[in-house]
Subunit: 206 residues, 2 copies
DNA sequence: CGTTGCATGTAAGGTGTTACATGATTAC
DNA sequence: GTAATCATGTAACACCTTACATGCAACG
C-alpha cells in the first residue's frame, strides 16, 4: 500500500497532506489535553482528566494514560523531555508537535463524533424495579442526587476558572453545558421520585 | 476462606443465604433482561438491548451477549433449552432460574449503583473548539440534534408500549425519564449553539 | 512516624469489539 | 437472484483496569 513517492497524494488542502492517525478515542482525548500547548506530565494529565474530562468524557486509568503517551510519541504527535526535579529524579513532560496539531485539526475536520454513550447503573436498577425494595430505590436516587450536587459545585468552579480567559473560551462553554446538564439531571431525579410515589399510590395502597 | 459447613453463614434474611455472584456489569444487564421471566434467545436479547437498554445503559456486541449467557449458565443463574424451528435447526432459548432471581434481588439490595458514565465525543470536540472550524462544530451539533429527535421518537414509542401494562410499570418510568432526558439534551444543544453565536459575535467580528 | 501527594511504570487479566463463518427464510 | 433478517458462534485482538512496585517530600 505504500506509494512510491509523495507525488500522488491528494493535496486539496493543508490537512489532507497528512494521514489521519488511527488511534483509539482515549489517545485523541490525551492528545487533546496537550492540544492547548502546555507541557504536561502523565500525572498532570491524569489530574486534569479527573477534574474536567470526566464530566463529559471519562477519565482513563493512570497506566492507560502512560500507554497512550507512548503511542502518541511513537507517531511523533508529541515529544517528551526530562526535566530534573528538586529531589534529583527526573520528571517527564510531554508537548504536542506541529504534526500533532495537524492531526487534531484533521480529526476535527474529517471525522464525525460517535453517538454519545450513557452507562447509567441507577436507571438499570430502576428499570428492574420489580426486583427491588421501593425504599431502596429511593435511597439510591437520593445518593445519586447528592453526588450530582457535588459535581455541580465542581463544574461551577471550573466554569469560573475559565471565565474571561479567551484561551479557555471553549472549555468555558463546555463547563456551562455541564452545569446545565447536571442541574437537569437533578430535576430528572426529582421527577423520578415523584413518579415512584405515584406508582406506589396507584397500585401499592389499594 | 471456605468454611467447613453452612452453619456459620449469616442468615439474617433469605437473601444472605446465597452468595452474590461476581459477574461483570454486562452480565447483570443480560440477567436483568431475563429477569422479566420470559424465555429469550441470544438474538432476542440483542434486539431488546438495542431497542431499550441503549438509551440508559449500552448495547453490548452480539458475541458479548453469547459470552455472558454462557457465564450465567455456568453459575446456574439461567437455564437453556433448545426449541426446534420450522427449518429443522434448533434455536436456544434461556430462562432465569430461582437462583438467578435471588441473585438479582440480592444485587439490588446490597450493591450500590456505580456513578453514571457519560462518553460524549461531541463535547470533547467542542472543548477542543480552538482546533476546529466554527461551522463544522455547528454542523456536528445539528447532526447530534437530529439523532436526538429520532431517539426521542423511539423512546416515546417504548413509553407508549409500556403504558398501562402493570408488568411494565418500572420500564415505563425509565422510558419517561429517557424522554425527558432527551428533550433536555436537545435544549442543551440549542443553548450551546446560542453560546457559540455569542462567542463568535464577541471575539470573532471585532 | 504514618499518611498523603507527587511521579512513573510493569504485569496480568478481564472486558469488549470486529471480522468472519455458516446457513435457512423472506421480501423485493 | 440478491439483500435483509433470523440465528449462533469462534478467533483474534484491542482496550482498559487493578494490583503492584518504587521512592521522595511534606504535613500532621
Amino acid at each position: 500500500m505504500t506509494s512510491e513517492s509523495a507525488a500522488n497524494i491528494d493535496s486539496a488542502s493543508d490537512l489532507s497532506t497528512v494521514e489521519l492517525p488511527d488511534i483509539p478515542a482515549t489517545a485523541w482525548a490525551v492528545l487533546g489535553l496537550l492540544g492547548f500547548g502546555r507541557e504536561l506530565s502523565g500525572y498532570d494529565i491524569k489530574q486534569w482528566a479527573d477534574a474536567i474530562l470526566r464530566f463529559f468524557y471519562w477519565s482513563p486509568a493512570t497506566s492507560q494514560i502512560y500507554t497512550e503517551l507512548r503511542r502518541l510519541q511513537d507517531r511523533s504527535l508529541i515529544v517528551s523531555r526530562d526535566v530534573p526535579r528538586a529531589d534529583g529524579r527526573d520528571k517527564r513532560v510531554y508537548r504536542i508537535t506541529p504534526t500533532g496539531i495537524d492531526a487534531l485539526e484533521k480529526w476535527q475536520a474529517e471525522t464525525d463524533a460517535e453517538p454519545p454513550i450513557l452507562k447509567h447503573g441507577l436507571l438499570l436498577r430502576i428499570w428492574l424495579g420489580h426486583l427491588a425494595q421501593p425504599d431502596r430505590l429511593r435511597e439510591q436516587i437520593r445518593v445519586h442526587q447528592e453526588r450530582l450536587r457535588l459535581e455541580l459545585a465542581a463544574a461551577l468552579l471550573s466554569e469560573e476558572r475559565a471565565h474571561d480567559q479567551p484561551e479557555w473560551a471553549y472549555p468555558e462553554l463546555v463547563a456551562r453545558w455541564t452545569c446545565r446538564r447536571i442541574e437537569s439531571e437533578i430535576r430528572l431525579a426529582d421527577d423520578m421520585l415523584a413518579d415512584l410515589d405515584d406508582l406506589a399510590a396507584g397500585s401499592g395502597i389499594d
